[in-house]
Symmetry: C2
Subunit: 420 residues, 2 copies
């Protein structure tokens, strides 16, 4: 068996732990030198493959690769770029094969969410449809936790922890101030059309009266009157009301998000702006003084408060992808299988990519309380282990010392450009 090089790319919105998957993959690949030559990373994800902008990870020291375990975001660059179908843009696939051939690439590792799984699936089909032998393995990643067939998605546990910690802290703040000042606080969280992140905020409410008092999920139709009644009741009972709102909540059908933000390259609308809208409604209808925060990138990049469970799983799925490749697999995604809730035990599983691609897993109804404004004990059992454990990065001069790699380019072998 002659060693083939591997291509690795990060895709879609990054997370606090996607680089831990890269570390797992690269470290494991280095242990399989008989079968895997070098790992080339795509600069800016799949775009790097199309434009032959490859990064040679073999020049990075073992220490620098290990540092990826505690470095947030996509160290090689990620991309929001989805391959079209083979019939719609054959040129893209021909170009990929051209680049793969030129660099002797036999393994395609794609680290992304549901949209990216579709790209990985298409690449896995090149072997059959275009006769180029390649194994394509998908490594799950999404803070949204909306990938099917896996118990959870690496990246989610850390935003879940960020959200729960943040709303607990904001709740303490609000509780301090509510007598003479702010009565309502809204934390807007990312998560697209799934309420997983907001649900995780619910973990902070452990005892009667604890913040958050209200969670708003995209899975539940927003009812203005019921919402206002719930806010008023919380303020009257506790003196204040802490809310976690998913960015994907539709407050009004005709509600304009204000800044006319366009859809992204995957065709998703850019969300955000729910918190100020809720605040406006509360102020005008109930008159309560409010504050709101919009977490946005802060939450998904917050490696400083990452979940140790999440870091461990992200690293493990990177390593497992290499195991899968060594076992001759292709067209599959690595998954996390839950073995038990308490004590929490999990193992590595797999799912066929055609069942993963473009499928969005929203929250089951039994995770949401009857009134639609909080989580159930079933949800707590599911969420609790995912935020367990702290995994702090090293600090220098008060700041996290995140990795900076050499990111040395692989010399180009093709003398053709490709426009993406």
């Amino acid at each position: 068996m002659t060693a083939k090089n591997a291509f690795y790319a990060q895709s879609g919105g990054v997370t606090a732990v996607i680089n831990a998957s890269a570390a797992g993959l690269i470290e494991s690949a280095r242990e399989h030198g008989d079968a895997i030559g070098k790992v080339y990373a795509g600069r800016d994800g799949i775009v790097g493959a199309l434009t032959e902008q490859l990064i040679d990870t073999s020049v990075e020291s073992a220490d620098d690769i290990a540092a990826l375990k505690y470095t947030p975001a996509g160290i090689f660059g990620s991309a929001r770029y989805k391959l079209k179908g083979l019939d719609d843009n054959k040129a893209e696939y021909e170009r990929l094969i051209e680049v793969f051939k030129a660099h002797d690439i036999g393994y395609f590792f794609y680290n992304g969410g549901g949209d990216s799984a579709d790209t990985c699936l298409k690449v896995s089909q090149i072997a059959d449809t275009m006769g180029y032998p390649i194994q394509a393995i998908h490594i799950p990643k999404t803070m949204d936790n909306d990938l099917p067939h896996t118990d959870c998605s690496p990246g989610f546990g850390s935003v879940a922890k960020y959200t729960a910690v943040s709303i607990r802290e904001a709740g303490y703040d609000l509780h301090s101030m509510c007598k003479t000042s702010t009565k309502v606080f809204i934390l807007e969280v990312m998560g697209r059309n799934a309420g997983w992140t907001a649900a995780a905020g619910g973990l902070a409410a452990e005892a009667e009266g604890d913040a958050p008092h209200i969670l708003l999920f995209p899975e539940v139709r927003f009812d203005r009157e019921r919402f206002l009644a719930k806010v008023d009741e919380a303020v009257k009972r506790n003196g204040y009301c802490a809310i976690v709102a998913s960015e994907g909540v539709e407050i009004d059908k005709d509600f304009e998000r204000g800044d006319g933000r366009p859809a992204d390259a995957f065709g998703h609308a850019q969300l955000g702006g729910v918190a100020p809208e809720l605040a406006r409604i509360i102020k005008s209808e109930l008159g309560y003084k409010f504050h709101y925060a919009i977490a946005d990138y802060l939450m998904r990049a917050a490696r400083h408060i990452a979940s140790a469970t999440d870091v461990e799983q992200a690293y493990a799925v990177g390593r497992a992808a290499v195991d899968f490749a060594m076992a001759g697999k292709s067209g599959v995604m690595v998954t996390i299988k839950r073995e038990s809730d308490e004590p929490y035990r999990w193992s590595i599983g797999e799912a066929p990519l055609d069942e993963v691609a473009n499928v969005e897993k929203t929250m089951p109804r039994d995770f949401i309380s009857k009134d639609g404004f909080h989580i159930t004990d079933t949800a707590r059992r599911y969420l609790k282990p995912l935020i367990a454990g702290e995994s702090y990065p090293p600090y220098v001069d008060g700041l996290p010392a995140y990795a900076k790699l050499k990111s040395q380019a692989v010399p180009r072998r093709l003398h053709t450009d490709f426009k993406v």
Copy 2:
């Protein structure tokens, strides 16, 4: 010397470390049982003194008081409530004396910012003007860092660290995505009319090209054209532009913050809304895809990422207040004196309250770079030690285990109500 009881109150916007000052004060007071009887905390700050809602801290265990060192926000409740002048509302002062007399209070410890210093000053004058013997000591606290006569304000180091860590993390995120997606990110930070918090964000930029690329200070007049040119230059040079914007920046004289938020009880306008406005301008003039975060309460409550230096100083000023009282002082504020930058050394000092009250310390011009968009090395020397060190709270089940006190009410001795 007969022991007198002490009154302690938290005032104004809370911080991640104000409870550490409470811990320092209560622990030290317990060591001076000969002179200080019980420490009564005002429920909801000074409001608790006026309404005779006192909390008996003597029933709290030593462990619970020690837990305040890692618990954010104001555990006894804070208030935005400023005493009027003696001539304007003598009844308030008479009521204070009535309550102090009823509970044998001889020490008044007030933990707050510049507005609160004014209240503390007025109380210190009761001794002379109204013949009630009381020593009033002010314990500095403000995330805004705008108190004069102290090198820094406890509470600031932690929001400074939060801001620097957050923009570094968001910068990594942005760097990952900028090829095909978001080019500009704006983090809006609290801080009123002073740019200290935004300045601290600048610490994250250690090497050429590092985020943040632009800081916007209230101290610098906003120039739309120069700002847009700077953003465009950063995007063209680095592929992206990370911005930290103070909430107090005035973008347009006729710029409406949109939600008609009222002034607070201290007469300050409620700020916020700068980030979306900047994003709108950038989108419409430069066309770049953007994201923004509004940190709001998350930053000042973020005990999970507090600065160890800040925690230490907050605790120390609480202890020092008791030392001051034992030394017979009144009408003074405890201060932090800087002895040297590197190695960082500091000591406890004092300032007369009439020079502190209602004075707002903005950033010196030599802390701001010539073009107005970043910090100078002088600012770095000042800021760097304030974010040094991590001081993590304990965690249970993935969440910080913050203190919950008994907060037992002191039996009322007066049978009169007082309307605040």
